[in-house]
Symmetry: C2
């Protein structure tokens, strides 16, 4: 008597052959993502990217964001600590500037994830 053949639906797809992303690289990406995964920080970054040179004076920010100065300071510190903004004191006021290359790793990761391999018309970048 022949052995039963497993139905097609009970088979699983092949495992991928590409090596996993190294854990330190994944941790670094996760840390950067955590630093920007906040609505106020998303708005701050979006705003800074829209102004000339990517630089804005801290004095203009609280009113626009509807948050207090201490809350703003907390969020700016997080972004500076993550290397996503730089802080420069000009007289009385701190100015913050986007570091364009800081999110390069995240951008490459997101772009690759958007275009899985072997789907026609969606080449992996």
């Amino acid at each position: 008597m022949a052995l039963p053949i497993a139905p097609q639906s009970d088979t699983c797809s092949d495992a991928g052959t590409e090596p996993l992303m190294p854990y330190p690289q994944a941790t670094a990406l996760a840390d950067t993502l955590k630093a920007i995964a906040d609505p106020t920080r998303v708005r701050l970054l979006d705003h800074l990217a829209s102004v000339p040179g990517g630089t804005v004076c801290a004095c203009h920010l609280p009113g626009q964001l509807g948050i207090s100065q201490p809350t703003l300071s907390h969020h700016l510190k997080k972004l500076v600590a993550a290397g996503i903004l730089t802080r420069e004191q000009r007289g009385r006021w701190a100015h913050y500037t986007v570091v364009p290359a800081a999110l390069e790793g995240v951008r490459a990761f997101i772009t690759a994830t958007e275009a899985p391999s072997d789907i026609p018309g969606a080449p992996r970048n």
Copy 2:
């Protein structure tokens, strides 16, 4: 007697004129970023993007990631809940597939942040 002129270093840069990103949009982006801001989930997404069609059987994942099945299930659930992966049961095994469009908003946000306006050679996308 003339009034003293404030030194250049004590002036602040202009405020941007662009309206802030609407808060609901910033919250949605932050939620998606939070869903992927974890080393294991970064590795999962990167791995899925590397396999044909962006689909992988859950049976192949724990060994590759060096995590237990319950831990894997936790991370996969988070990604499915965020709409970044879909889950399909094929017989005994669940298969997970990347949703290419799920990270489109994050990609556009990161790309804009990388290229602040009015910097020569770095046009805003």
